[in-house]
């Protein structure tokens, strides 16, 4: 009897907390559908008195923005997807090579890669800026993609997985005459799908949501990402037009929210598998 009452109490507490947690997002959605007049007047109404799509049509028409919001969306999604594909492909190859193949100097290379997990971004971002600047690659997709691909997190994550992969399957494929590449792509990779999805979702979120690097590495309005474009609109012409700002942030948040909600289970599973417990 006591246990049941406790559970009910815990559900109530969890529900109150969940409501508090979701309020900022609801308030964003709600303001996006209010007129500027109603938004600025304040109040506590989550359902707009005068429901309007005006903020969205204004944003989507590109009015008041430095460039069309679709351009920023494309930049974020494109660099996110290409960066993620590169990361997943090269990290899987490197991790498999280091974990299972006869790579020269691997006793030296693996610790070298992993030790950079300790190196904070602050120490590499200025020289990286100068490198890209000296070859005139600022404001390009290269600058929005390549720096993320050197991260050792994926190599580390996949290395652990490949280390524990049963060797018999590889041996059987080898006896059937498969070469290393065939064994890797036909036997090993299919079994690594879940953990590679985890890495993919993590990588996409990191690139899509990053702020400091795209902020310093791009300055032309066309090459801004959603995250930096929004920040610049907020400090510029949209400073106090919260209805329009909230429509803009809603548009920016929906794609990543969808990716996140679909991939959430994989993400959680991957965190579990990665041995961080």
């Amino acid at each position: 009897m006591k246990k049941k009452r406790n559970t009910a109490l815990l559900i109530i507490i969890a529900t109150i907390l969940a409501v508090v947690f979701i309020i900022p997002l609801l308030w964003m959605f709600s303001t996006a559908f209010k007129t500027d007049f109603e938004a600025i007047a304040g109040g506590l109404n989550f359902i707009p008195e005068e429901f309007t799509w005006e903020n969205f049509t204004y944003i989507l028409s590109g009015q008041g923005l430095d460039v069309q919001v679709f351009r920023w969306m494309f930049n974020s999604v494109f660099s996110g997807i290409v960066g993620t594909l590169i990361i997943v492909a090269i990290d899987a190859m490197a991790a498999y090579g280091l974990a299972r193949l006869n790579v020269p100097f691997k006793k030296f290379l693996f610790p070298l890669f992993i030790s950079t997990l300790m190196i904070p971004f602050v120490i590499t971002f200025l020289p990286m800026y100068l490198q890209f600047s000296s070859v005139n690659l600022l404001n390009t997709y290269a600058v929005l993609i390549l720096p993320y691909t050197a991260n050792a997190f994926g190599v580390f994550l996949l290395y652990q997985f490949f280390k524990g992969f049963p060797k018999e399957l590889e041996e059987a494929a080898h006896l059937d005459g498969a070469n290393k590449w065939q064994i890797f792509t036909k036997v090993v990779l299919p079994s690594a799908k879940p953990i590679m999805w985890t890495l993919a979702i993590f990588s996409f979120m990191t690139i899509y949501n990053d702020f400091l690097w795209p902020l310093v590495a791009t300055n032309s309005p066309e090459m801004r990402t959603l995250t930096t474009g929004i920040a610049i609109m907020q400090q510029g012409s949209f400073t106090s037009s919260y209805g329009k700002l909230m429509a803009l942030t809603t548009i920016a948040t929906l794609p990543i929210l969808i990716v996140f909600l679909i991939g959430q289970k994989q993400l959680i599973k991957g965190i579990t598998q990665s041995g961080i417990k």
Binding site: T7, I11, A14, L17, A18, I22, P24, L25, M28, A39, G43, L44, I86, I90, M93, A94, G97, N102, V103, K106, T116, M118, I119, P120, V122, I123, T124, F125, L126, P127, M128, L130, Q131, L146, T149, A150, A152, V155, K167, E171, H174, K180, N209, F211, L212, V216, L226, T227, I230, A231, Q234, L245, T253, I256, F260, I268, I271, T272, I276, K277
Partner: protein, 306 residues
Amino acid sequence: MASQVISRKNSKKDKFTSFLFVLPYLVLFLGFMFIPLIYGIIISFTDYNLLSSEATFNGFENYARIFDPNSALNSIFFDGLWNTLQFVLYTVPFLVVIGLALALLLNYLPKKITGLYRTIFFIPYAISVSVVSIIFLWMLDTNAGLINNFLMNLGFDSIPWLTKQPFAWVSLAGATVWWTIGFNMIIFINALNEVPEELYEAASIDGAGAWKQLISITLPSIRPAMLFTILMSTIQSFNVYGQPLLMTEGGPGDSTEVLLMGIVNQAFSQREIGTASAMAVLMALIMIIISAVQFKISNKKEKGEA
């Protein structure tokens, strides 16, 4: 071992084809991690300036200026460091304790509904820092903001959340905890699932209450997760940049002007890449030392009790 079976055939060719697997990553690693790292340290010993094409070595002069109390760099670095440390202090304990509390709460809920609540607490983690900052700017607005409107409806005065201390720190810390707590919660949920059920059963038979079980069973069992979340949260909070830039613009005064803001300013507004790099190297060193110390302390504890 499969790799050895293969390698017997032709060791040299085998080594080469194996190396091809690592090559793409190695190239990107050299270009976008290793070379910048070395280059960054080298620049920190020069007077590199974005306005002139030449940079000359000036030894430890940049570092000496940072430690010279009469230099402007001294206050940029140490005030920034102090503000950053305050932010770490105001966020990490909450990120760890509330993260654990949420995980414990979800652990006690009926299995059927856990997933829904876990998703809700985890959702903010998917959002970018500029969206988080703008949502909180809007909620904390002095006149029209949700929170002040709520307070005024209850008969309180409106609070200058972003323009007066200590409210500015409360706002920055609050927004950050809301944004990132979900990740720590997931780590703790995983850790809690790994604690053997028998330990709790044995403790119940011995008559240990919920609190006693938490202290003597749960906490010791999840120590690695605890270490991981403390480490990760500290590193992330040390790197804080977007929230104070967008929410308080470093104010009121320059009380929330964090170290990374000072470094970016020095590099891109003052165009002094050399001194900015020296500050970046020092900041990186401090972060590495803090992580190493945290790691050492918790490792020692673990050994001490084993």
